[in-house]
Amino acid sequence: MNLARNLMLKKEVIEASDELVKETFWQDVFRSLRKDRMAVTGGIIILLFLLMAILAPLIAPHNPYEVNLDNQFQQPSLQHWLGTDMFGRDVFSRIMYGSQISLLIGIVPSLITMSIGIVLGIIAGYFGRRTDFIIMTISDMVLSFPSLLLAMVVMYTLGASLLNIFIALSIVGWAGTARVVRAQTLSLKNKEFVEAAKAVGVKPYVIMLRHILPNCIPQLLVLFTLEIPGSILSEASLSFLGVGAQPPASSWGLMVSNGKEFLFNAPWVAIAPGVAILVIVLAFNFLGDGLRDALDPYLKQ
């Protein structure tokens, strides 16, 4: 047995033993996700809601803004599936239209929150020391601050608009994400692959972007799906500031809080949007759970 013979690698051997996986990481995740009935259900529901939001003007049975005071508080019927509200407007159509704002408010601020949180979290975690201290102190402040005040400041200095609601919600929300990302970064930055990148001479920001960020994705995904319902609900409390959906338009959060007054007299007005929120929250959570589990076997390896 000599070295030369031995070093001639038997290519077909490697091939034979390695035929298994051709799929990419995400294909793999998607495949295990597909097997998860709850996650699939969640995903389908979300898709349906998204479709509903996009197609609302085409498929809504009634004009959601059509006020007819003679038609107040009609019970659910074939004509009005979910009844009418105190202005005689069709609740079902309003839910369909409301989903536009509610879903936007659910998703966009979560995205912004995530982005800010990710950037600050990675920077804090990666550079540590003073940078970390400063960022984490600020995040402590944000966490202990009345979020209402922050939101008000944004709304009053920038004016009430959807974009500014996004900003208002994000200013409050980033701190939590930053903490999670920071913790993740702290554990990742000591991983050997980060060290390997350093050994090769890769610059810090490239390391953060190429090596650390992608590895936070599973946690971030889960966080993201959990953040969405939170935002949908907080829109209702933002309406307290007179922002949120502007009448006559509506959102689920607003419909729920406005309908509260009629909870016992005309329950459908408030319950229908409430159920919509619940369903979407459950859907996102099931999908989030599924996603986490789908990402998990890989992490175990």
Partner: protein, 323 residues
């Protein structure tokens, strides 16, 4: 003797141990404590020692993944520790590292081709095509099929992953590679494949290795010279065969004897077993660091730290070297 490729002189690396919110220093780990040696071109210098004795720290400090506390390391005449960031980046082409853990050392979310290409992307402004060719060439060199280039690390076995790590280290044609326990995590049958590969590459590319390991069997086979570390200190340094045949330091002797031999007939031989635990690096023993475990301990060992003695081409740090 020819001019050494790297001259390591009095290198120290201390880690402050910080606790609490204020990062108050509560102690110091003398992970590498005043170590000097030369590494010659094309040789394999092995560093052995038990867990936590500072092997990895030494390796990482030498290629400046860690900043040394003190000392110098002249690589081809230039002090690695004094280079500017820019010069350091240039130096990265010359010295590389292969990590112990084939799972942790590859970014699980990057394709193999991207991992191997990362050094090229970082240092060379070559075209995409050229880069792909280089990657293919490297993969071939370490025995990986080109077809795998778009796979992710988790689709590979441990041995294959280690090859990826080796390919990455080779990408910039380094002269000097720190191999930080490159085979410890591998299966017995894969271990020999990698050792052979490293050996082949050394011959082909005239590489110099600093080979860190705690496996004394592998080291005996693979290295030209061997350095034995204990708690941050170099206890003994010399040509491998001589050290194995006639260890000068008691620790070396016990360390070599400790590893079991795959031969049942050897089991009845009286075994030398070192008693006691490895002392904490936070509070190393006074005098000779080994004295708490040394069966030959004398009073002077407890109080006085032994100087390094040069005996021919070997050196040893012991008051009473073995004969």
């Amino acid at each position: 003797m020819d001019q050494a490729l790297m001259q390591v002189r009095n290198v120290k690396k201390y880690f402050p141990v910080e606790k609490g919110l204020f990062g108050k220093k509560t102690g110091t780990v003398h992970a590498v404590d005043d170590i000097s040696f030369d590494i010659h071109e094309k040789e394999t210098l092995a560093i052995v020692g038990e867990s936590g004795c500072g092997k990895s720290t030494l390796g990482r400090t030498l290629i400046r993944l860690l900043d040394a506390t003190e000392g110098s390391a002249l690589f081809q005449g230039k002090d690695v520790f004094k280079l500017s960031q820019h010069e350091l980046r240039q130096l990265r082409k010359e010295m590389q590292i292969i990590f112990q853990d084939p799972f942790a050392s590859l970014n699980p979310r990057m394709k193999v081709s991207d991992i191997i290409a990362e050094p090229l992307v970082t240092h060379e402004t070559i075209g995409r095509k050229e880069r792909e060719d280089r990657v293919a060439e490297l993969m071939e060199q370490v025995g990986l099929r080109k077809a795998y280039s778009s796979r992710y690390p988790h689709m590979f076995s441990g041995g294959q992953r280690q090859r990826i790590g080796i390919a990455r280290a080779l990408a910039l044609h380094p002269k000097f590679i720190v191999c930080d326990e490159p085979v410890s995590a591998l299966d017995v049958s894969i271990q020999s494949q990698i050792i052979n590969l490293l050996q082949k590459l050394q011959e082909q590319n005239h590489l110099t290795y600093l080979f860190i390991s705690h496996d004394l069997s592998v080291v005996r086979y693979f290295s030209d010279r061997i350095g034995v570390m204990f708690l941050g200190k170099m206890m003994e340094l010399g040509p491998t065969e001589e050290v194995y045949r006639h260890p000068l330091h008691p620790y070396t002797k016990f360390l070599i004897a400790a590893a079991p031999v795959p031969d049942p007939h050897a089991r009845h031989q009286e075994k030398l077993i070192l008693e006691g635990d490895i002392p904490s690096p936070l509070r190393p023993p006074s005098g000779c660091r080994f004295h708490t475990r040394c069966p030959y301990v004398k009073d002077i060992c407890r109080s006085q730290e032994p100087q390094i003695q040069q005996i021919d081409d070997r050196s040893v740090a012991c008051h009473f070297p073995l004969e």
